[in-house]
């Protein structure tokens, strides 16, 4: 049984709810470990070996190793946790936001300077799809 929620129709949004909380616990707790400088060092020295300490699924492991930021959200990653991997890489929140939204760093920065992504056409999945089809 899949539960439906009234926020499911918000496009491009991965609400960290109970379902994702169950799915993503180990992945996010790995990310939490990166709050410690020694752990960041160990992770950077040998990422695959470091990940062996955590019970990640094959897909979670792949997403981390390939820095598939959107992929991590889809398998239960929470952005406040997965961003810690980005910090290890010297990236910022804005760098990662650009990558998740599928545009270049420059294009994303420009969009933000111009006032950000408009809610118009971005409130409902159906509308977002319709706008894309045009």
């Amino acid at each position: 049984m899949t539960r439906t929620n009234d926020y499911d129709d918000i496009p491009g949004t991965y609400v960290y709810d109970s379902e994702r909380g169950r799915m993503g616990y180990a992945l996010n707790m790995f990310c939490m470990s990166l709050n410690k400088a020694d752990n960041r060092k160990a992770f950077k020295a040998n990422e695959a070996a470091y990940l062996d300490r955590y019970k990640l699924t094959a897909e979670q492991r792949r997403a981390v190793l390939e820095r598939d930021w959107l992929g991590m959200l889809k398998v239960g990653g929470n952005i406040y946790y997965t961003i810690k991997i980005a910090f290890c890489d010297g990236l910022t929140f804005q760098d990662v936001a650009g990558m998740m939204s599928g545009v270049s760093k420059e294009a994303y920065a420009q969009m933000m300077l111009a006032g950000g992504r408009s809610p118009e056409g971005n409130r409902y999945k159906a509308t977002a799809d319709a706008a894309e089809k045009k």
């Binding site: 009234d6 939490m32 990166l34 910090f87 933000m112």
Partner: protein
Amino acid sequence: MMAKIVAGIACSHVPAIGVAMDKGQTATPYWEPLFKGYQAAREWLAASAPDVAIVVYNDHASAFSLEIIPTFLIGVADKFPIADEGFGPRPVPEVEGHPRLAWHLAESLILDEFDMTIANEMPVDHGLTVPLSITCGQPSAWPFKVIPLCVNVVQYPPPTGARCFKLGRAIAKAVRAYQEDLRVVIYGTGGMSHQLQGERAGLINRPFDTAFLDKLTKDPMSLTTISHTEYMREAGSEGVEMVMWHVMRGALDDDAAEVYRHYHVPASNTAAALMILENRSAA
């Protein structure tokens, strides 16, 4: 003798704002328009000279992980170290608590049916330190004691806006009952519209934010019925942080007056606001 809440401060807590201050970049063309709007608030706060600040904020996987997720938590320690959030602790002064008032609040709130988690030890992250930096600048020690009050907004669902407002009411009642002459300010942090995740990252809704700021002073009850889904749809998934502003507003008098407002887009991915509301009874 009694403590009184003199003002509320609504303040976004974007980490990049802290980084810009810590790295001395506030005068760059990107940051200057944002920081220019902070000066008047700093002067106002310095003149107001509060003894204690209750800072309502959310921890971002710093003090608390997913291991234990407190919905409402109050810090009763005498000191709160600065958290390492994954890139080293911010170079800002350690935060000094006010254990006696904090414990009084904890007791009063729990007996008033708000089931607070009590923290005797916890580091504080940008959610708390960035609003202090924004409103106090870069002093060698923070000019007042701080009581951290954390609200979960990371694991869905956060507490409702209405519940947060009522918590604010209970905080005001507890502060009034505290037998010491103390000037207290309360910060509501986070927001405004922003989305940090997914293909929809970067969402900003200026009309929503403007209406929210307008109503926060004169018609705050109407804002307490905004659902989480409406926040997420209209103001971005992380815009739901605005529930924390209701704790601040609930702690103020009904007729509190807006004395300062600053709003700027963008601060990294976020619409950043700073607003001061003053209790007329305290003026």
